[in-house]
């Protein structure tokens, strides 16, 4: 039987291949990444793209959440102040309506109510990071202004009824703002400014038309309730965002673990394989040294 006399070159090729494996395993160990090129694991790299995408979307949402939560909290506390102011206005009006006050006291009430009107208008014109939060999409200009050329004075809304939303990674929309028109200048008796302006006019002369004043006071009460109702929308949004952000964070944590498992090197497995490859290498080296030595050639046995 004839044999391939060049078996050493085959052994050398095996040795190269073992060394190549060792190099690859060592690099996986040192980088901690098991998939360093697309062909290492085509399915994993595809999944990796999608996982990283979702992780980053969650991350972006979490960051956006903290930004909008700040704005919503400002809106909420502003509305809280509005409610306080309006409650005070109602108690002032109620005391004026009970008929026990003299003319100058009534006028004083009117002045105090004017102060409250200014305060409420200033609250309604609250801005957050340079943007008016109750102006709808017209957030670059103050939404409310009052003209005193008529009696009662007229407070005008210059914003619009636009509502912005934040879309969660799951595709849900969370309301980010309540336009001033819904809060303060609603239709009918839901108009805070109209009620306040009417009351100021009612008391400005010092004599009270009790019937009218009571009607207007009731209107302010209705408007206050309406503001409180709308404030609930903002509270709801804050809750929704907190819970969506929590869920995004926990989702991100889970996905990061999955992604790590997918792409990262398993140290135990790699170490075992490396040790196996090293054993194989030293075995191959012994075989090559043994077979390659001159004493294995028949020539060495010939008489010299």
């Amino acid at each position: 039987m004839r044999v391939d006399p060049n078996y050493n070159s085959v052994l050398a090729a095996s040795l190269n291949s073992v060394q190549d494996t060792e190099e690859q395993l060592t690099s996986e160990l040192s980088s901690g990444v098991s998939v360093s090129s697309l062909s290492d694991n085509p399915a994993a790299v595809g999944e990796n793209v999608i996982l990283l995408n979702t992780i980053q979307q969650d991350d972006t949402f979490t960051q956006s959440s903290s930004l909008v939560t700040g704005q919503l909290q400002v809106a909420d506390s502003t509305l809280g102040s509005v409610v306080t102011q309006l409650t005070q206005a109602i108690s002032l009006a109620t005391s004026a309506n009970n008929g026990t006050m003299n003319s100058s006291d009534v006028k004083s009430i009117s002045t105090q109510l004017s102060g409250i009107l200014d305060e409420v208008q200033s609250l309604a014109n609250t801005s957050y990071q340079g943007q008016y939060i109750f102006a709808g999409a017209q957030s670059s200009t103050a939404p409310f202004s009052t003209s005193s050329s008529t009696s009662p004075a007229v407070t005008t809304y210059n914003g619009d009824s636009n509502i912005n939303y934040l879309v969660t990674p799951g595709g849900d929309k969370i309301q980010l703002n309540v336009p001033g028109s819904s809060l303060f200048t609603g239709s009918g008796t839901n108009n805070v400014f109209s009620a306040l302006n009417s009351l100021i006019a009612d008391y400005s002369s010092g004599t009270v038309d009790t019937t009218q004043a009571v009607t207007d006071t009731e209107a302010l009460g209705t408007a206050l309730n309406y503001v409180s109702q709308q404030r609930v929308v903002i509270d709801d949004s804050i809750n929704q965002i907190t819970s969506a952000s929590d869920s995004a964070t926990s989702n991100e944590t889970q996905l990061t673990a999955t992604q790590t498992n997918l792409m990262q090197a398993d140290v135990a497995t790699i170490s075992t394989r490396l040790s196996l490859a090293e054993t194989q290498q030293s075995a191959l080296e012994s075989v090559i040294a043994q077979l390659g030595s001159a004493s294995n050639s028949l020539f060495s046995k010939l008489p010299s």
């Binding site: 004839r2 044999v3 391939d4 006399p5 060049n6 085959v10 090729a13 998939v35 360093s36 090129s37 697309l38 062909s39 290492d40 694991n41 085509p42 790299v45 595809g46 999944e47 990796n48 793209v49 999608i50 990283l52 995408n53 992780i55 980053q56 979307q57 991350d59 972006t60 960051q63 956006s64 959440s65 930004l67 909008v68 704005q71 990071q129 340079g130 943007q131 102006a135 709808g136 999409a137 017209q138 957030s139 670059s140 914003g159 619009d160 636009n162 912005n164 939303y165 934040l166 879309v167 595709g171 980010l176 990061t256 792409m263 990262q264 050639s297 028949l298 020539f299 046995k301 010939l302």
Partner: protein
């Protein structure tokens, strides 16, 4: 009648033949490491016997020459397998460079240049803009992530283009090597035919060696013709060598790449599927890289077009409605979109976050642009899924070629072992034949010496003096 004289001459011939055989062994040992050398064995032939008076006398043996130990069928199988293996190995090397352009991202923030991450960052920047549509810093972030995406896509495309032109040059280089080899084979054909049938083993060794080299370069078929001639065609049938004529391949530019011609026939596509390095280069150049590029083009085209369309449909920070302008340079056609992808918008105020019917504080157009990330805008897939499929497909292609190459290389090794077991110089065999020939020579010399003594005795018959 057999005489001592004839026996002496028989031994002289034996000594000559043994010397010739020792020469063959020495030549084998000397060429043990010569590439393309085929082990030779001495051929012995029994001389015709002579019949004298009805008695047949053997006339010894002659060493008629050395025969190369080759199996041309096995050699041809090795060559064929070599063509496949070197095609896949060349293609694999090219594909490795291609996939290196798309190194997978291992984490969320560390990898730069990963188009998948860029896509996500870009669409996420619109999600961020939802939270504060008038924020200048968030608008800047949209533009900067758009720039990163565009420049990474464009530099990937440019890298692929330059790889393609490098492959093109390699392919041209291979063509000139092929021409040199076919010229050499044609000359060897002529010499072999001139010197007669198989008298000069070294010429055949050279021819086989050239053929083996040719097989690493290009896919060929060989047909042995009469009188030791050889005809070589490409696997698609174009004649390269016929007898003492070689037919040169020529190159010419067509469609921006080198095409290869036999005469006036464009045989590029036939060579691409034919095998050899040339097949590998051409497959990578004409199939793998164009496929990869066209996927990138599709991605760049769809993203640029869709984002531009939406931006132009909204209201920008300056209050411009339906006239905000393009974010990306508008591609006119899919082909070339990746290479030319760039951001043309310089003023972040021109990002139309608001819808066309709303004030500048609105964010519904930003929502719409962020939503593109989850819409099937690229060949019926979302941008991220498209890119995910793209890298998986590319990875699978590389992995398949890798597997194919491993199998083919193993097969080549196996065939090479078989060929070597027949044709390579086995030094143990040579040591053994050296000893045999040495003993044979010693024996012949001894017989000669004995015969010489006998002859002297015959001459000295009847005399007392001795002849020395």
């Amino acid at each position: 009648m057999g005489t001592i004289n004839s026996a002496l001459s028989l031994m002289t011939q034996a000594l000559d033949s043994d010397q010739a055989a020792l020469n063959v062994t020495s030549n084998n040992v000397a060429n043990a490491s010569t590439t393309g050398y085929t082990e030779e064995t001495p051929t012995w032939q029994e001389n015709s016997s002579v019949v004298i008076s009805g008695i047949s006398y053997g006339q010894g043996a002659t060493m008629t020459g050395a025969t190369s130990q080759r199996d041309t069928v096995l050699q041809e199988r090795l060559n064929q397998q070599q063509q496949l293996a070197s095609a896949s190995s060349t293609r694999l090397t090219a594909l490795d460079s291609v996939q290196a352009v798309f190194t997978p991202s291992s984490g969320t923030s560390t990898t730069t240049g990963d188009i998948g991450t860029d896509l996500t960052s870009f669409f996420s920047s619109f999600s961020s803009l939802e939270s504060s549509p008038t924020s200048n810093s968030l608008r800047e972030k949209v533009l900067s992530s758009a720039s990163t995406l565009a420049s990474d896509v464009s530099s990937a495309a440019s890298s692929l283009e330059s790889q393609r032109s490098a492959l093109d040059q390699e392919a041209s280089g291979v063509v000139s090597q092929v021409n040199a080899l076919t010229t050499s084979i044609a000359q060897l054909n002529q010499q072999i035919q001139a010197t007669g049938t198989s008298t000069d083993n070294s010429l055949e060794d050279q021819r086989q060696n050239d053929l083996a080299k040719l097989s690493t370069l290009v896919g060929v078929n060989q047909v042995s013709t009469g009188n030791d001639g050889m005809q070589i065609t490409t696997t698609s049938g174009q004649l390269l060598v016929s007898g003492d004529s070689s037919y040169q391949l020529t190159t010419g530019m067509s469609g921006g790449v080198t095409h290869i011609y036999s005469g006036t026939t464009d045989i590029t596509s036939g060579l691409a599927s034919g095998g050899g390095q040339l097949g590998g280069y051409l497959t990578a150049r004409d199939t793998d890289i164009p496929n990869t590029l066209s996927s990138l083009d599709q991605l760049a085209y769809s993203v640029s077009t869709q984002v531009n369309t939406l931006n132009n449909a909204g209201t920008d920070q300056a209050g411009d409605t339906s006239n905000a302008g393009d974010i990306f340079s508008a591609p006119t056609q899919v082909s070339g979109s990746a290479l030319s992808m760039s951001v043309v918008m310089t003023d972040p105020d021109h990002i139309a976050a608001a819808s066309s019917t709303a004030g500048t504080g609105d964010n519904s157009n930003a929502i719409a642009m962020a939503a593109l990330a989850s819409q099937t805008i690229v060949s019926g897939q979302t941008p991220t899924n498209y890119y995910s499929d793209f890298v998986s497909t590319l990875g699978s292609t590389v992995s398949n070629v890798e597997t194919e190459n491993t199998a083919q290389t193993a097969s080549v090794t196996q065939l090479q072992t078989q060929v070597d077991s027949i044709s390579a110089v086995n030094l143990n065999d040579e040591a053994s034949s050296l000893t045999t020939m040495e003993r044979s020579y010693q024996a012949a010399a001894q017989v000669f010496s004995t015969l010489n003594t006998l002859m002297a005795q015959a001459i000295n018959i009847g005399t007392e003096t001795t002849v020395s």
